[in-house]
């Protein structure tokens, strides 16, 4: 497939920056509505452009999307266009009438839950947030909404709860779990104690991967197939290849986590398709620096997360230290493969050696 024919795998629209919460990790540092947010007419027009670009998946997020009173009109219009809609919400404002509407429209709703207990979730999101988020899920289920998921952002204070997520999800009657790691972005940069140290990235990812063995849940990871150099079968940072975001005031970005500095031109000035073509023509948002270019794993990894490279190395073209940690783990495992193979037969014997 040539770049010209490629469309983003999904488009994100931040429908507002307003939010009743002030989460410690918030990548968009949301709270206040911005004076010049996109109007209903502008968002409807944007949705039409998304559909015109033959993009199938549209994610409505924010800020808190339900803080926008005209969201029902946006949702209805997007559904009429035949787009697969995902609504990403904290659930705080999700009352029975919202639940009814979302169920009727068949929108996929992802509710953020960042702890298996009120204590952990509320530590990040504020008092009462856990109770309201779980009630929102109950209301959605009661209204007959079928396409529901919990979105869990792993940070340093909740990573010991990963193994308990299946229990929480079965209590809530939810099957789909989306797990992402906290990114050094927005308010998370002001709260670095929340970040997972790169040396622990492989450990934390292992705990997440273990969830794939739980039959009662379906785990979705926030990684993506990437348009790699010569094969489509590579995984990498979606910002470098196939996703597109539009901020609450219309600026575009390939990933919100890259922050304001990497916001591109505004949909108020250019058609979305043109902005996407400009992004593709501009090459990549990642041109491996010398260190990354020498890495034998670069062709497979695509360099990892650009937001982490920016934060930890102050260079968008540097290695992502989590990516390096994953490959260090791979090298370690390869080096000790015979030991592990023996251990598979019986750890007692292998480790006694």
């Amino acid at each position: 497939m040539s770049h010209e024919t490629k469309t983003p795998s999904r488009v994100y629209i931040d429908v507002t920056n307003a939010c009743p919460l002030q989460c410690l990790h918030c990548c968009t540092a949301s709270g206040e509505r911005r004076a010049d947010e996109l109007s209903l007419v502008e968002i409807i027009n944007l949705v039409d452009q998304v559909q015109g670009m033959q993009v199938k998946n549209l994610v409505l997020t924010g800020g808190e999307p339900l803080a926008r009173a005209d969201l029902p009109a946006i949702l209805r219009h997007a559904c009429q266009q035949g787009l697969n809609i995902t609504l990403l919400t904290n659930g705080i404002l999700l009352d029975r009438s919202w639940a009814k509407l979302l169920a009727e429209l068949g929108v996929r709703v992802k509710i953020s839950l960042d702890g298996v207990s009120a204590e952990t979730h509320n530590f990040l999101r504020g008092n009462g947030a856990f109770e309201m988020a779980t009630q929102a899920l109950e209301r959605l289920r009661a209204a007959g909404a079928e396409n529901l998921a919990v979105h869990f952002t792993v940070h340093r204070q909740n990573c010991r709860e990963i193994a308990r997520l299946p229990e929480l999800l079965s209590e809530l009657g939810i099957h789909n779990l989306v797990v992402g790691l906290i990114k050094p972005s927005g308010r998370a940069k002001d709260n670095p104690a929340l970040l997972i140290p790169p040396a622990m990235a492989a450990y934390v990812r292992q705990k997440i991967e273990a969830l794939t063995h739980c039959e009662q849940i379906t785990l979705q990871r926030l990684s993506d197939k990437c348009w790699g150099s010569d094969t489509e079968d590579l995984f990498g940072c979606p910002a470098t290849c196939n996703k597109l975001g539009v901020g609450a005031t219309g600026e575009t970005t390939t990933c919100t986590f890259l922050g304001q500095e990497f916001m591109g031109k505004n949909v108020r000035e250019y058609p979305l398709a043109e902005l996407w073509q400009q992004h593709l023509a501009g090459g990549k948002c990642f041109v491996a620096n010398a260190e990354c270019a020498e890495c034998p794993n670069l062709p497979f990894s695509g360099g990892g997360c650009r937001a982490r490279a920016l934060y930890y190395r102050q260079d968008i073209n540097a290695p992502d230290p989590y990516c390096c940690a994953s490959f260090a783990k791979k090298r370690f495992l390869d080096q000790h493969r015979p030991l592990l193979e023996q251990a598979l037969a019986g750890p007692e014997l292998a480790f006694q050696d």
Binding site: V154, R164, P197, M200, Q206, S326, L333, F351, Q352
Partner: protein, 143 residues
């Protein structure tokens, strides 16, 4: 998080409750050893341990040590107990004995809201951890 809950969820154990005693930990006799082995496998396959090999006769060939960069606060309680015994290079059997003794004495095993960890499932679980490590694909990781 309560370690026995953690173990139980990893291992598929069942909750045991009696009106007299409340929730109780009912590890079998070998429970601590199995728990330590599991924690050890987790740390090993997550690249948290260094391995040194010694070739001398009558000496253990393989010694393990916790890497300096490991942040103990992220580990589960049993992993922390195991890690605590690993500041110097040591063999796994020695480590297991010491850590299991600590585990038996620790409140981890005496908490009332505890779960039962079935031994057989324990054994299956550390096999799963190792099997996953052998199949590890660093590309398919969360962003």
């Amino acid at each position: 998080m309560n370690t026995i809950q953690w173990l139980s969820h990893l291992l598929g154990g069942k909750e045991r409750f009696s009106p007299k005693t409340g929730y109780q930990a009912e590890f079998g006799k070998n429970g601590p050893q199995i728990a330590v082995t599991l924690a050890f496998c987790e740390l090993l396959t997550a690249n948290c341990l260094e391995i040194r090999t010694q070739e001398q006769i009558h000496l253990p060939k393989r010694l393990y040590k916790l890497r300096r960069e490991v942040d103990l606060t992220l580990l589960t309680e049993i992993e922390q107990i195991v890690a605590g015994e690993m500041s110097n290079f040591c063999t796994f059997p020695l480590l297991r004995e010491k850590a299991a003794k600590k585990l038996r004495r620790s409140k981890v095993l005496t908490q009332t809201d505890a779960y039962l960890a079935e031994q057989q499932k324990n054994a299956e679980h550390y096999r799963q951890v190792i099997a996953d490590a052998l199949e590890y694909n660093p590309m398919v990781s969360v962003c």
